[in-house]
């Protein structure tokens, strides 16, 4: 029985670890400025936890086999523990866990403590059951007024976010079902939700943030590679949660300007 346990525990450990190490399934390729930092912290945590995982499981399998009952002759070490070992173990764990945490904290700080820089691209993401809408402030760089009573999700476009077209600042606002961003420029994101909580999740951008009704949340990230990236909703928002899907198109500054201009032209 001891041997069976050892084998099962070791095999489980082997297969679990194998698929991590072989990266059969792994984080999607990052395409944002913060991705290398986040991935580095992930890898560091992964290596440390992986070592502890393998060591602890290997030890468990080994002790239950090694110290199996082999009849009356089996000697037991009558001991109530070892305070010195206990202290060493506690200190090491504390240093490791807290240290690991502190190492990751500067990445978090740079992502979340500071607002977006001057000159970033403003875009507002609005979540509603069950779609994302993205609004650009236009030439005046100011979002127009929105009103809940003007919201008409079925009409899409301006009406989906309840844009008040009588507001002068709203005249040049562009609302799109697809998120466009210029590459290598910081996006200054404003998140809103109209009905329930949604969460804007763009795995390749290493970006996730809840959009909460009643809150205006400011976030920022910088895409570093052009391409199409999928957006998912990560907060349970109702029966259509699974299909609340969007696209982020990261394009060159030139293409971004062209796209915005064509949307402006459509509006006039």
């Amino acid at each position: 029985m001891g041997l069976a346990l050892l084998l099962v525990i070791w095999l489980i450990t082997f297969f679990s670890t194998y698929f991590f190490v072989a990266k059969t399934w792994w984080l999607p390729a990052g395409a944002a400025a913060a991705a290398p930092w986040i991935d580095h912290q992930f890898a560091l945590t992964f290596v440390l936890m992986g070592i502890i995982f393998v060591a602890a499981q290997a030890a468990l399998g080994w002790v239950v086999w090694k110290y199996r009952d082999q009849g009356a002759a089996t000697k037991v070490d009558y001991s109530h523990g070892n305070t010195k070992l206990e202290l060493i173990w506690t200190t090491l764990t504390a240093v490791l866990f807290v240290g690991l945490n502190l190492m990751g904290s500067h990445v978090w700080a740079s992502e979340r403590f500071e607002p977006a820089h001057e000159g970033s691209v403003k875009v507002e993401a609005t979540g509603l059951q069950f779609a994302w809408y993205f609004r650009y402030p236009g030439m005046d760089n100011t979002y127009g007024r929105t009103k809940p009573e003007l919201i008409d999700a079925s009409a899409g476009g301006d009406a989906a976010v309840g844009l008040d077209t009588t507001d002068p600042a709203a005249k040049d606002d562009v609302v799109s079902g697809t998120m466009y961003l210029p590459v290598n420029r910081e996006a200054d994101l404003t998140l809103r939700a109209q009905d329930v909580i949604h969460s804007l999740f763009i795995p390749s951008m290493r970006f996730k943030q809840d959009a909460v009704p009643g809150l205006i949340i400011h976030m920022h990230f910088t895409p570093t590679e052009t391409g199409d990236y999928e957006i998912a909703c990560a907060e349970l928002c109702g029966l259509g949660h699974y299909k609340m899907h969007g696209m982020l198109k990261v394009v060159s500054q030139l293409d971004f300007d062209k796209w915005l201009a064509s949307k402006e032209a459509e509006k006039q």
Binding site: M1, V8, Q41, M49, S79, T93, V98, A153, D195, H241
Partner: protein, 580 residues
């Protein structure tokens, strides 16, 4: 240090109803809780089976349910989570085993408040009936997830099931909270007041320590959830706005609420919700400690450290709730603080793991089935625990929050590990509870299939989560990168079939052994704690008219110089050189 109060003992009841239905006997109440949890775990497991089927074959027609629609899937996951957390993980380890064995292990004739104890069980039972009723009302059960985030849970128009079904769901939880508060008071009072002579706090078995700290957690946490639940009911039905802000529009209809905060619900919920994790797992830790020592025939490694670790986990468990909210819009500075506290709670957990290994080390391990489950518990606790430091870091949570990584993490640790604690407890105490032994061979088969099976279900969830698979999706066909992950999901569904099927072995073993198992002696495992000093099953007042006197610590195994390889807590003082 109080002596056991003889005044608390009540006369043995006559008649079927007073004896088995409205019983005041903590042992009967413990068994009632146990069977309530057993019924609940099968409902919960059946729901998870339907979920696994729907994820892989969305078009499949099912018996009873017919088509599973996306909203039905969300209903299943909401009820699965709620039933498992409240009526299984909170009910069996604490209220079930705790009720039965806490008084006996400390040498008391019953709980401090037997009537309150009976009331607490029947209140829990009512809560369960109300919860199940949610399935059968118009609109069905709610779809807002077990966390019930407002405004989804607060607005009747937010989705199917958010009408009467959601009200019943909240009402059930509120009733459950009230029942748990009664239970918690009873546990705490019993431990503080009814310990037998010589049963100092530091001589209590670690199971009692775990039940004690769990009861304190319950007392502090369930009160908050009760309040939150009542506020949510008011928001839904009386037009208040605790959790609903102004300016909302649901499917084109303006919402007439103003001034509430969705984050307030999350704070209140997780102030309960995180301690709840420890409510579920601490009793399992207690059982694992007890069993690893018993079946390694060796004193527990670092008893005091184990006690302090349980206390530290209990204390820190109240200051980490914000780690569920890193992506919620909460201040990023407080995320930093919650993150450090969360890492800190890993330390006592690591101490426990170290001490469990230290207990087995240089012991004489006997592989009776309770021990197998206890060893499985340690393995699962390690696996489930080590994904914690990933999720505790806000910067990694950006990628992992609300993905299958989280689902894998909490299922391994508070789900499967806690359930292995229950399996261990069931096999270990079954002889005392029912007077017969369970079948060893069936236990072994069930153990290996379940251990491998649960790893096969829940380990892949970590891979899925890293790849960005979001949780609570009824289908993965709408998001291209997620569609690629379906083969792994399929594998997990097959693993779930096998694992769930294997539970029939356990149930068969349980009921078959109740009537057909070989008769058990009073102390079949050669254990040391007080429940093994009394008759099997124990008499109504637990010790047949006399009050035990405790002379030893709880885990005196293989003491040099002792006549046997264990010294029971009630053995005369001075047996063996190492006794204290």
């Amino acid at each position: 240090m109080a002596t056991s109060g003889v005044t608390h003992a009540h006369a043995a009841p006559q008649g079927f109803i007073r004896k088995y239905i409205f019983s005041l006997d903590h042992k009967v109440i413990g068994i009632q809780y146990f069977f309530l949890a057993l019924a609940a775990v099968f409902v919960g497991m059946f729901l998870s089976l339907l979920m696994r089927i729907h994820l892989i074959w969305p078009a499949a027609q099912l018996p009873i349910f017919g088509d599973i629609k996306p909203e039905t899937y969300l209903t299943l996951l909401t009820m699965h989570g709620t039933i498992m957390v409240f009526f299984v993980l909170t009910t069996a380890p604490q209220s079930g085993f705790g009720n039965y064995f806490l008084p006996i292990q400390i040498g008391a004739p019953d709980m401090a408040f037997p009537t309150l104890n009976m009331l607490s069980f029947w209140t829990t039972f009512v809560a369960f009936v109300v919860m199940i009723a949610a399935f059968f009302v118009e609109g069905g059960a709610p779809l807002h997830g077990w966390t019930g985030y407002a405004p989804l849970s607060a607005l009747q128009g937010a989705g199917p099931g958010e009408q009467l079904g959601a009200d019943l769901w909240i009402t059930s939880i509120a009733i459950f909270c009230a029942a748990s508060l009664m239970g918690a008071l009873n546990f705490i009072t019993t431990i503080l007041d009814l310990r037998a002579k010589g049963m100092t706090l530091m001589r209590m078995p670690l199971t009692c320590w775990a039940w004690f700290v769990t009861a304190i957690l319950g007392l502090l946490a369930f009160g908050v959830l009760l309040a939150a639940g009542i506020l949510l009911l008011m928001d839904r039905n009386l037009g208040t706005s605790f959790f609903v802000p102004g300016g909302l529009s649901i499917t084109g209809n303006l919402v007439k609420h103003n001034g509430g905060s969705p984050l307030l619900w999350q704070h209140l919920f997780w102030f309960f919700g995180h301690p709840e994790v420890y409510i579920a797992i601490l009793p399992g830790m207690g059982v694992a400690s007890q069993l690893l020592s018993t079946f390694s025939r060796k004193p527990i490694f670092g008893y005091k450290a184990m006690v302090y670790a349980i206390m530290a986990i209990g204390l820190l468990g109240f200051v980490v709730w914000g780690h569920h909210m890193f992506m919620s819009g909460m201040s990023p500075y407080s995320a930093f603080a919650f993150s450090i506290m969360t890492m800190a709670i890993g330390v006592p957990s690591a101490i426990k793991t170290f001490n469990w290994l230290g207990t087995i080390y240089k012991g004489r391990v006997k592989f009776d089935s309770p021990m197998l489950y206890a060893i499985g518990f340690v393995s699962l606790f390690v696996s489930g625990g080590l994904s914690g430091p990933f999720l505790a870091q806000p910067v990694l949570d950006i990628q992992l929050h609300d993905t299958y990584f989280v689902v894998g993490h909490f299922h391994l640790i508070m789900g499967v590990a806690a359930i292995f604690g229950m399996f261990a407890g069931t096999c270990y105490w079954f002889p005392k509870m029912f007077g017969r032994m369970m079948n060893e061979r069936l236990g072994q088969i069930h153990f290996f299939i379940t251990l491998i099976g649960t790893y096969a279900i829940f380990m892949p969830m970590h891979y899925l989560g890293m790849a960005g698979q979001t949780r609570r999706y009824s289908q993965f066909t709408e998001v291209a990168y997620q569609t690629k992950l379906i083969p792994l999901q399929t594998f997990m569904t097959y693993a779930a079939f096998v694992t769930i099927g294997a539970q029939a072995i356990f149930v068969f073993n349980l009921f078959w052994s109740m009537w057909k198992g070989p008769k058990a002696s009073d102390n079949p495992w050669n254990s040391t704690t007080l429940e093994w000093t009394t008759a099997t099953p124990p008499p109504h007042d637990n010790f047949g008219g006399h009050t035990p006197v405790v002379n030893h610590g709880p885990y005196e195994y293989s003491v040099p110089g002792a006549p046997r390889d264990f010294i029971m807590q009630t053995d005369p003082a001075g047996v063996g050189t190492g006794a204290h």
